[in-house]
C-alpha cells in the first residue's frame, strides 16, 4: 500500500521537455524490466517466460475464468471501498463538527487503526461465516480507517475566515456545512480515499488468499497447489494493473473536483 501525500494528488505539470524525458525513461525502464525477466527465465530460473504468461493469460480470458475472477474481486473491493468511504466521510464530518462525537469516536478509531484489517479476518470469519460479507467487511474496515482521519483533518482545518465569510453573508450552520465545510475538505477526503483504495485492494487479495471460492487471490492460491507459475504471474500482473487503473481514475476525478485549489 502506497502512502500518498497531498502533493501527489495535484495535477501533472504542463507537458514540458522534462516530463517527456521522464516518460521515455519510464518506457525504457519497463522494457528493460521485461527483458531482464525474459533473460532470467531463459537462463533456467524457475520463472515462466513473458510469452508463457501471456499465453496463460489468453487461455484464462478465453475460458472466461479471468473475467469471473476479476469480476468477483472488483465487486468485493468496490463494495467495501464504497461503503468504507461513505462511512468515513460521514463519521469524519461528524467528528470534525461536534466535539462530543469526536470524543466518542476518537479512541476507537485510534485503536483500530493500529490493527491491520487482515488481523480481524479470523474473528470476522467466525462471526460472519464464509460468504461474501466477511471479506467485504474487512475491506470496508480497511477503506474506512484509511479515510476517516483524513476527512476529519479536513473538516477541522477549514479556514476560519471562510466560515466567518459565510456567516456574515447570512449562512446558518447547515449552509456553512454544506457550502463551505464540505467543499473545503474535499481535497482531504480525496487523499483519504486514495489511501483507502490502496488499503482496500491490498486487503482484498489477502482475504481471498485465505477464504474465497472465486477471485484473483483465490485463483493464485489454487494455482500454487499445482505449481502453476504462469497463472500466478497472470494474477499478480492483473492485480497490479487493476490497482493502477483504479488509482489513476480516482486521481483524475480528484483533480477535476479540486481544480480550484491555489498554487498547484
Amino acid at each position: 500500500m502506497a502512502v500518498i501525500n497531498a502533493d501527489a494528488t495535484r495535477a501533472a505539470t504542463p507537458r514540458t521537455r522534462k516530463s517527456r524525458t521522464f516518460l521515455v525513461l519510464n518506457i525504457v525502464s519497463v522494457v528493460a524490466g521485461v527483458a531482464i525477466w525474459w533473460g532470467l527465465s531463459l537462463a533456467g530460473l524457475q520463472f515462466p517466460s513473458p510469452a508463457e504468461v501471456v499465453a496463460a493469460g489468453w487461455t484464462m480470458i478465453q475460458d472466461g475464468s479471468l473475467v469471473t475472477d476479476v469480476g468477483a474481486s472488483l465487486g468485493r473491493v468496490l463494495a467495501g471501498f464504497a461503503l468504507g468511504s461513505v462511512a468515513a466521510v460521514l463519521v469524519g464530518f461528524v467528528m470534525g463538527w461536534y466535539t462530543v462525537a469526536r470524543g466518542l469516536f476518537e479512541p476507537w478509531i485510534q485503536f483500530f487503526r493500529t490493527i491491520p484489517p487482515l488481523a480481524m479476518l479470523p474473528l470476522v470469519l467466525v462471526l460472519m461465516g464464509i460468504g461474501e460479507s466477511p471479506k467485504i467487511f474487512v475491506i470496508f474496515l480497511a477503506a474506512f480507517l484509511a479515510c476517516v482521519i483524513s476527512t476529519y483533518q479536513g473538516v477541522v482545518s477549514v479556514d476560519r475566515t471562510l466560515i466567518n465569510a459565510g456567516r456574515v453573508l447570512g449562512a446558518g450552520d447547515g449552509t456553512i456545512f454544506a457550502r463551505v465545510v464540505v467543499p473545503a475538505s474535499t481535497p482531504f477526503i480525496l487523499v483519504g480515499m486514495r489511501v483507502g483504495l490502496g488499503s482496500a485492494w491490498g486487503t482484498l487479495v489477502a482475504a481471498e488468499l485465505l477464504a474465497a471460492q472465486a477471485g484473483l487471490g483465490h485463483r493464485m492460491q489454487s494455482a500454487q497447489l499445482y505449481y502453476d507459475l504462469p497463472t500466478i504471474f497472470v494474477g499478480i500482473i492483473t492485480i497490479g494493473v487493476l490497482g493502477l487503473i483504479m488509482d489513476r481514475l480516482l486521481m483524475l476525478a480528484g483533480n477535476k473536483l479540486t481544480a480550484w485549489q491555489e498554487n498547484r
Binding site: 456567516r167 467543499p183 474535499t186 491555489e262
Partner: protein
C-alpha cells in the same frame, strides 16, 4: 440628535491566555453616525480586528454593549457587510458564484440574483472574469470581488478590516479612489481599519486612533477635507498636517509604552 448608526459602549474583550487574562479591548466607546466614513488606525495587536469582529457579530464582547441601529448585536446580519484582509473568497466558486453567495442564503430569486450579481460585478470592473475562479485573479481583483460580494446583499454598513493591506501601492490607491467614489454615491456607513496613516486620512470623515495594552481609543481626529478627494489632495498642506497629527498620535503612544515593557 438622532441615534447613531453604530454605538459602542464601554466594550471590553478579554481573552483567556493560559492562566492569565489578556485585555484585547479595555472599555472602548465610539459612536458612528449614519453615512459616516470612519477609519481606525493603530499599532498591530491593539484590538482593531477584535472591535470589528464584535460589530460584525463574529465575536461577543465580555463587557459593555455594541449597538447597531439602536439594537444590540447578537450575531451577523445582512445590514452589515464585512470585508476581510485575506479576501476570504470561496476558492471553489467562480467570481459570479461568490457574489451570489449572500443572495442565495437570503433566498433571492434566481433572476434577480443574476441581475444583481451582474450589476455589482460590473461595478467593480470584473465583468470579464465573472466565470473565473479566484485562483486566477490578482490580489486587487480578489478584493474587488469580495467587495462586490458584500455589496450584493445591500448592507447599510460596511465593516472593512485592512482590506487593501496586502496590495501594492498603486492598486491600493486605485481601490481607495473607487471605494470613495462608490461611497459618495450610496453613502453607506463605513468602518474601515487600516495601519496606513495616509489611507486613514485620505478616506475618512474621522480617524479613530487606537492604542494597545489594553486596547483602547487614544484620540479621535476629525478630517475636515471636502469630498470628492483626489490625488492632488494628498499633496495639500491641510492633508499633510492631518497626516502628521494622526501619525504623531499613533507613533507617540508607542514611545510611552515601549520602556514600560
Amino acid at each position: 440628535m438622532s441615534t447613531p448608526k453604530i454605538s459602542v459602549r464601554d466594550v471590553e474583550k478579554i481573552f483567556p491566555v493560559g492562566n492569565e487574562n489578556f485585555v484585547a479591548l479595555g472599555g472602548v466607546s465610539l459612536d458612528i453616525a449614519d453615512n459616516e466614513f470612519v477609519t481606525v488606525v493603530g499599532p498591530s495587536g491593539c484590538g482593531k480586528s477584535t472591535l470589528l469582529n464584535i460589530l460584525a457579530g463574529l465575536e461577543k464582547p465580555t463587557g459593555g454593549t455594541a449597538l447597531v441601529d439602536g439594537k444590540p448585536v447578537s450575531g451577523p446580519g445582512p445590514e452589515r457587510g464585512v470585508i476581510f484582509q485575506q479576501y476570504a473568497l470561496f476558492p471553489w466558486l467562480t467570481v459570479r458564484e461568490n457574489v451570489e453567495f449572500g443572495m442565495r442564503t437570503a433566498k433571492v430569486p434566481g433572476d434577480e440574483r443574476r441581475r444583481r450579481a451582474e450589476h455589482f460585478i460590473r461595478l467593480v470592473g470584473l465583468e470579464q472574469f465573472a466565470d473565473a475562479l479566484p485562483k486566477t485573479l490578482s490580489g486587487g481583483m480578489k478584493q474587488r470581488c469580495a467587495i462586490a460580494r458584500a455589496y450584493a446583499v445591500n448592507p447599510s454598513i460596511l465593516l472593512m478590516d485592512e482590506p487593501f493591506g496586502a496590495l501594492d501601492a498603486l492598486t491600493r490607491v486605485r481601490l481607495q479612489e473607487q471605494l470613495l467614489e462608490t461611497w459618495s454615491k450610496d453613502r453607506r456607513t463605513v468602518m474601515f481599519i487600516t495601519h496606513d496613516v495616509d489611507e486613514a486620512v485620505f478616506l475618512a470623515n474621522r480617524v479613530v486612533v487606537m492604542g494597545a495594552r489594553p486596547g483602547r481609543i487614544v484620540e479621535v481626529i476629525d478630517v475636515d477635507l471636502p469630498y470628492p478627494r483626489d490625488e492632488d489632495m494628498r499633496l495639500s498642506p491641510e492633508f499633510g498636517e492631518l497626516r502628521n497629527r494622526v501619525w504623531h498620535s499613533v507613533y507617540h503612544q508607542r514611545q510611552i509604552k515601549e520602556p514600560a515593557q
